[in-house]
């Protein structure tokens, strides 16, 4: 149990090292090993769901060891509800991404799976690090494998897209590094201890000016990753040119790095600055919601459309988060998971037809529901999930976010709602153009429906979409204390969680109308 997180963290890396030993001609062996490792990685992370104790507000499964003692850096892992869910999302999407690549990748197979598995370790590590330097290390480790995934196995414009992705993210994150250093030295000047311990940073109270600057530095790092308008321009290119698995990982997990960064670091460490930045972030988010959706409406390229829908959806996530109330933040986290599930699935869906037809032009398709009924059904469910139809996961997230945002500002809520409407417009439009009507393009007449492997990549996503749509309580319960901790730092209108308090009220109650912004059981919301 003691090294549980390390095991989750290093299984993919160990798999990558194992793959190094396999001769590159044995492509099938490589595929089997990679799939086994990725599946194993997912399987061993599942107990995290059960073993994580949602009642305790502390970080759990802590692992600490000195790393660079002379500067106070530690190998410090631990999870709370937020990271638990994101880690599970990561391991699951990792396994799905590996499985989805079986026939799509035929060149340089060995390198491909090695990069994919190394990327996996980087992402998991970022979600579990509680040492800021260690976090940054994992954060940057993700860049190189993703660069190669886009650059080697991508489509037409891959070199341009890959370097654009790389440099954008890099510039943002090196500035963030300076913010980390400023925080580190300030923390030493107050506590007398050199440390990158995030849990200690959560207790610091920095002077407002310093907070403001550090927030800006963090913002540049995280906002590029989210990506927020106007830092989003790398995303459509990277998504469009990445191989399917790359897009899936990018959308489902890597974008969450940015929002996770805000939730784990910016909000609780820099509460005053966070409040000061709310209008700024809200405006950028609202622009992102509307702009992303409008641009998505105009796309002729299937994958680009999904990419721009990501910009819009992630902006909703940011808006919900910066409502700075429990409902908004909970909704924003749930919506991150939803976005991972639905957008991940949508990229898989594009990947399926791209593998068969080698084109992403929407106009090349039409009437696919006749030839690929199962595929069309899954696409329909995921479309509904993406636009937030009740009984599916997207609804819960959007409802919570709208509720949280509404509490903060009715105007914002109107804009957030417009994102939902526009989202329905471009998604249904896409669905109608590709799936309905007659099969007019003769090349589409012989398309085969999903095979078992392809269906297997969707199965967990479908189950989750329905589960979270019908019974989100287990997810909400796991988030409750984590959200309370963030709120307690950033918004003093909500009472701090009582030590050892047990949460008994059904968490679903938080989304009943009329109880605006109620965090813990029965606490009144308020401004």
């Amino acid at each position: 149990m003691n090294h549980y997180l390390s095991v989750i963290l290093f299984v993919p890396l160990a798999g990558a090292l194992l793959l190094l030993l396999v001769p590159k001609q044995n492509e099938d062996a490589i595929r089997w090993i990679a799939n086994a490792v990725a599946f194993l990685g997912f399987a061993i992370s599942i107990p995290l769901w059960f073993w994580y104790n949602p009642q305790s507000g502390d970080f759990q499964f802590i692992e600490r060891a000195p790393w660079i003692p002379s500067i106070g850096a530690e190998y410090f892992l631990g999870v709370d509800g937020l990271s638990t869910l994101l880690i599970l999302l990561t391991t699951m999407m990792g396994a799905i991404a590996v499985l989805s690549s079986w026939t799509a990748i035929t060149e340089r197979v060995k390198e491909y799976y090695i990069f994919l598995l190394v990327l996996q370790t980087g992402m998991i590590g970022a979600f579990m690090s509680l040492d800021f330097l260690l976090f940054f290390l994992f954060w940057e480790v993700m860049l190189v494998p993703m660069y190669f995934l886009i650059g080697i196995w991508g489509s037409a414009n891959r070199l341009y897209s890959a370097i654009k992705f790389f440099l954008y993210t890099l510039v943002g994150s090196v500035i963030m590094l300076l913010g980390i250093l400023a925080l580190y030295f300030y923390s030493h000047s107050v506590t007398g201890v050199y440390s990158f311990d995030v849990t200690q940073f959560h207790k610091l109270m920095l002077p407002y000016n310093l907070q403001w600057w550090i927030f800006l530095a963090f913002f540049l790092g995280f906002a590029v990753k989210v990506p927020m308008f106007p830092f989003h321009t790398w995303l459509p290119d990277a998504h469009t040119d990445a191989p399917t698995a790359g897009s899936v990982i990018l959308a489902a997990v890597m974008l969450k790095m940015g929002t996770y960064g805000f939730l784990r670091f910016s909000l609780p460490i820099l509460p005053d600055a966070t409040r000061a930045y709310v209008p700024f972030i809200a405006v950028l988010s609202i622009i992102g919601i509307v702009y992303g959706a409008l641009v998505a409406l105009a796309q002729k390229d299937w994958k680009r459309l999904v990419a721009y829908s990501s910009v819009s959806h992630m902006a909703v996530v940011m808006l919900g988060m910066f409502a700075l109330n429990p409902v908004g933040i909970t909704g924003s986290i749930i919506q991150q998971l939803n976005h991972g599930i639905s957008t991940g699935a949508l990229f898989l869906i594009v990947g399926i037809v791209y593998e068969r037809r080698h084109t992403r032009e929407i106009s090349e398709y039409g009437g696919l529901s006749k030839v690929m009924p199962v595929y069309a059904a899954i696409f329909l469910i995921m479309t509904m999930s993406s636009i937030g139809l009740p009984t599916l996961n997207g609804f819960i997230g959007e409802l919570l976010i709208l509720q949280g945002v509404f509490t903060y500002s009715k105007l914002w809520a109107a804009f957030a709602a417009s994102g939902v409407v526009l989202g329905a417009a471009y998604m249904l439009n896409l669905y109608q153009r590709t799936m309905f009507g007659k099969v007019e393009n003769p090349k589409n007449e012989r398309l085969t429906d999903l095979n078992h492997r392809e269906f297997a990549t969707f199965a967990p996503l479908l189950i989750l979409a329905v589960w979270m749509g019908l019974y989100p309580a287990p997810f909400l319960r796991r988030l409750e204390t984590s959200v309370q901790h963030i709120i307690a730092r950033v918004n003093t209108n909500y009472p701090a969680p009582a030590a050892g308090a047990t949460i008994e009220a059904a968490p679903i109650a938080t989304i009943t109308p009329g109880q605006t912004g109620g965090g813990t059981a029965g606490t009144p919301g308020g401004q």
Partner: protein
């Protein structure tokens, strides 16, 4: 025995004596060995490695020593020790790289190895010197060896050009440096840095001292290839034999930084506001110009030359910080830089074959399929030079920028990180050639055992120091603390 120099002084310069004796031994062996080129070459390279090994071993008794010997000409302390280890490791790597290179180029090995040892001796004296005279003698010993080594491939025009350029500009810059030093002597009446510090402390704003500082900065700036004194570097790096380029860009640069730290932190701490400003400006233009110029290079040696100029700019950040943390960050960076830079040049050496010069970007096309290990190694070195974790280069840069933030130079750190983002563009471009382009003609690029060994060492260091740099951080901090008169560094903070 001259008056004033005692037997114990000789004991303290044991490592220098060992390497001097070893160098002479190599020269004698070159004449004595039978003229069968292959066998004698192998024997000479092994002998050189043995000399370097013996010198390293002779450093051991002085691990905890901290004394001034020969009446304050030389300091034996951790700071000098740290640099001596860097020089010797760099020299050993250079020898390992040279074995096949010399065969391909058909150059005589005897004098070559002798000169490498001489250059190393010069560097060691530079790092240990706490007197302007000692430092200058070390510098000359090193510089003259390098002038010859740069032009060592006699039939090659580029090599000749490199040597002439390096010699002329080098001599000129040494003159400037010497002029600055003479003013320092004139103002203080002593050449000893530690004796000079309190005397010059009273006249920090003396215009003559300011002039001296400017002249010394210019002289040292030439040696570390800081902009605007960098013009020689690309041509010399390109023309010199590749292993010598590697040694020049690592050993000579590290030694010059050691000299710089000695002169400015031990001799001129009082005028630090002046030279800090100078070095801050130098640092900014050096990293910016170096990186921007590197963007357009198509020759890998020139690209690495500009990259090495940019790295001098990063290292200067540590000098500007001027704190013990800044110095220790510099030491860390210099060691890490040595491994990644030597490693990168080792890959360039590997590409040198009888039918291929191998120093153009396009020569790296498809390397990942022809020699996956070399390509992977180069990938690591490029990422490390660019400062991407989990490579060592990240740890080095991170702590350098940390020192700058700590010392209040946030703006300098911002320029530094933006520069390292720019630099990634050209480092990655090389990776694109290796991994994303189709292979080119020419015989298979295969490394011999010695070159492979050098590569493995560099790769291992780049990974280990990137993931677990604990020991390096501790050693560097201890070494930085021995620099200067006790407490002067703290006084600077």
């Amino acid at each position: 025995m001259p008056p004033g120099i005692s037997g114990s002084d000789f004991y303290y310069i044991l490592p220098e004596l060992v390497i001097t004796a070893g160098a002479l031994l190599v020269l004698i062996a070159d004449v004595a060995l039978p003229r069968s080129p292959r066998a004698s070459h192998a024997a000479l390279s092994w002998l050189t490695l043995a000399v370097i090994g013996a010198t390293l071993a002779s450093l051991y008794p002085f691990v905890n020593t901290r004394v001034e010997v020969a009446h304050g000409l030389i300091a034996v302390d951790r700071f000098a020790l740290f640099f001596k280890i860097v020089f010797l490791v760099a020299a050993a790597m250079t020898v390992l790289m040279s074995i096949r290179y010399l065969e391909v180029e058909g150059a005589p090995p005897g004098e070559y190895y002798f000169l490498i040892l001489c250059a190393t001796l010069g560097m060691m004296i530079m790092a240990a010197g706490i007197d302007l005279i000692t430092i200058f003698i070390g510098l000359e010993t090193m510089a003259i060896s390098f002038y010859i080594l740069a032009g060592f491939i006699k039939p090659n025009q580029r090599s000749n050009e490199a040597a002439v350029k390096y010699f002329l500009l080098g001599a000129f810059s040494l003159g400037i440096l010497l002029y600055g030093m003479s003013i320092m002597y004139g103002l203080s009446g002593t050449t000893g840095l530690r004796a000079m510090a309190p005397i010059l402390g009273g006249q920090a704003r003396d215009p003559r001292l300011v002039l001296a500082v400017i002249l010394v900065v210019a002289g040292v700036g030439f040696k570390i290839a800081a902009v605007p004194f960098h013009m020689w570097a690309p041509d010399v790096y390109e023309g010199a034999p590749t292993p010598i380029t590697a040694f020049l860009s690592v050993g000579s640069k590290a030694a010059s930084f050691a000299m710089l730290l000695r002169i400015f932190l031990e001799g001129l701490p009082s005028s630090s506001p002046d030279w800090k400003l100078l070095f801050a400006m130098l640092s900014v233009v050096t990293m910016t110009v170096g990186n921007l110029a590197a963007l357009t290079q198509t020759n890998i040696k020139r690209m690495l030359a500009y990259s090495s100029i940019a790295h001098a700019g990063y290292m200067l950040i540590g000098v500007v910080a001027g704190t013990a943390r800044g110095v220790s960050a510099m030491l860390i960076y210099i060691l890490i830089y040595s491994f990644m830079q030597l490693g990168a040049f080792a890959v360039v050496v590997l590409l040198r074959r009888r039918d291929v010069v191998g120093d153009e970007l396009k020569d790296f096309s498809g390397l990942s399929s022809r020699n996956p290990f070399a390509a992977f190694a180069m990938l690591l070195f490029m990422l490390s030079l660019g400062g991407i974790p989990p490579t060592a280069g990240f740890m080095g840069k991170f702590w350098l920028f940390g020192a700058a933030v700590d010392a209040g130079y946030v703006w300098l750190a911002v320029i530094g990180v933006l520069n390292s983002a720019i630099s990634l563009y050209y480092y990655i471009r090389l990776v694109v050639f290796m991994y994303l382009r189709k292979e080119t003609m020419g015989s298979e690029p295969v490394a011999g055992p010695s070159l492979t060994f050098a590569l493995v060492v560099a790769v291992a260091a780049t990974i280990v120091l990137g993931i677990y740099p604990r020991l390096l951080f501790e050693v560097a901090e201890a070494s930085a603390r021995t620099l200067g008169i006790a407490g002067s560094l703290n006084a600077l903070r």
